[in-house]
Symmetry: C2
Amino acid sequence: MDKFLIKGDLAWSGCDRVIVSRKDAYILVEDGLVSGVFDRRPEGEYEFYDYGGHLVVPGMTDLHLHAPQYQFAGLYMDEELLQWLEKHTFPIEAEYRDVEYAEKAYGIFTEDLKNSCTTRAVVFATVHRDSTLLLMDMMEASGLISYVGKVNMDRNCPDSLREKTDESIRETLAYIDESRRFSRTKPIITPRFIPSCTDGLMEVLGRIAYEGNIPVQSHLDENLGEIGWVSELCPWSRNYADAYDRFGMMGRVKTVMAHVVWPSEEEIVLLRRPGVFVAHSPSSNINLASGIAPVRRFIDEGIGCGLATDVAGGSSLSMFRMITDAIQASKLRWRLVDDKLGALGFDEAFYLATRGGGSFFGKVGAFEPGFEADILVLDESGARSVLRERMDVRDRLEFYAYRLADERPLAKFVRGERII
Amino acid sequence: MDKFLIKGDLAWSGCDRVIVSRKDAYILVEDGLVSGVFDRRPEGEYEFYDYGGHLVVPGMTDLHLHAPQYQFAGLYMDEELLQWLEKHTFPIEAEYRDVEYAEKAYGIFTEDLKNSCTTRAVVFATVHRDSTLLLMDMMEASGLISYVGKVNMDRNCPDSLREKTDESIRETLAYIDESRRFSRTKPIITPRFIPSCTDGLMEVLGRIAYEGNIPVQSHLDENLGEIGWVSELCPWSRNYADAYDRFGMMGRVKTVMAHVVWPSEEEIVLLRRPGVFVAHSPSSNINLASGIAPVRRFIDEGIGCGLATDVAGGSSLSMFRMITDAIQASKLRWRLVDDKLGALGFDEAFYLATRGGGSFFGKVGAFEPGFEADILVLDESGARSVLRERMDVRDRLEFYAYRLADERPLAKFVRGERII
């Protein structure tokens, strides 16, 4: 049936980033879209899911994560970015040339992601076309909606991962072509970051993105050492973001840049462009000792922004964990770095995880008419409290985020299709 | 039987704070103490627990937490310390005058703590004698070993919590007297912090502690506003720690001070005294935007130090979560505040959670002969990885800490008694 009604205690983020809540209310979904929210049960013919008494919130968007790294999420955490890439990340990513290995590893990844609160994701795979397409197959079957990028790297990486420039282009075109068979899973142009792609490769990738109107994802301003390296590699650029912009990768097509921990004033101007999104990855930025992004500034400047686990810089697939990590990181930034930039409140961080990141996918992440129906029903039974009766819907949501971030949702709908 | 043997993959922290691991090894326990660790099964008569293939680590010590606040752990996180106390914490603590309420709330607390990886705890209750003794009853029954403090407050708090000075002293003596009936649960002198206790009360509490050789717990240098307030309240003191010292509460008896985020050089000298411990509470210090304690310095200076959840400044009872929070906080401090003070590695944070905090209780927190047998058997099945076969015992422990911090242990022994 293409029409259904869900009853529950609803909470979502309004366009002013304040949480709206409706106790014992109803969401009507038609053809994958929210058609209305009601305080009384509406008339009509539909399937009915009664989750009365349960929290019901929008699905969450993970704007940046590395599927092949999930196998070591939570390991090797005593290293900084560039050492961590060289010693652990690159050697393990090289193993995904073996499709059998990839099948096992991606099987675990997609199953765990399906069981999380994420409904949409923007994913890095590896340089390998076959195993990237295999991951896309699995993501498609999971019911999740995602962009999955075959990574491009033609310099500054081990031989086991380095592509020849021509080969990288050819494989990218073939991957785009073969991915036409998916409906929920889309290709995305994925130069790993400036240090691992030659200017010649970037030039062609930018053209492919533009001509096919395919979005772009990469990394920007994660680590001070990395930023210095980029200025050496691209002496012609004014800054790191400008280096991407030169190749049409700062908003000419829809663009998501992970991290942006250390943006300059000039870069802020480029980030303000429509179609540019920052994937704020607080957990990863802390684990790799990169720093704390000025996410409050991104919000105030109207820059597109969402949250990201950045597995395996981040160790958790939980977007609720990212909500509390983003708040905590912003508090420390306020206290220790810049007391003019206030900390994030819970409402704002919840906004980023739902509506903020969701807008990369269109009208996603809220219970308003016309929004795609990504819906989570939450199980609050794991955290007991004598105060529960006194908590309002918003309190219960905050309590859930801090106490039950790793729980599997009771039910999960993606664009109106139930997958849990 | 008073003698038993456990088989498993053992890991503990050596006295050099480096993790020692022994795969497929055995711990022999006699009369509650570790009598030896063996690579081959020893001869003799004993009960045998075969946890072959499972991680087996020492029980953890939570050096500071507030039992009455557990009911709102994870709520009201958008506030700073002094506002948070006034708006939420004090009104809720006042409700513990009602013993029926306390019974429900402490029932949830002790059950959840029993199911965590904590085997020892140093706990704040409230000002109320009856409900504090009730909490001690429940802690005793849980099998955990703890200090539980009746809080003292005779100024700067709502009428509903403020004691008269004489009453505070009388109730404290009665609580100490009545708590003689417990064997695992001990009293501890608990002035909330300088701002909430008059000099007259502190004087007597210091004497009671000294004469009864009862340890002391309180809060020190948590928040800059609080520190300023203390210097106004105690114009005769050189600094906050000195204010405690004047009353014999900096090591004259065993002393644990929570937080110590902003110690001065003069205070470091007092903290170095034998018998003084810092309860490092990274999660709470972040949630309340207090700052990041220089815990690497405490270690380097030989200051007694362990980890603490500080529920409900911290939202989690998980000591594994405190391990990763301590590492993450120290990385940000290194990156953003003081690059001369290196970040904590996993081994050091694990040390703090086990052997470091455990030493407040004596020989606790390691698998060495003569140590009290606090033992956890961990269930790693919740985090799958194709790399699992390649992980050594230490890798598995790091992976567990980041990925499964909230799991209930498979088995838990406290001073040789099995409680899970």
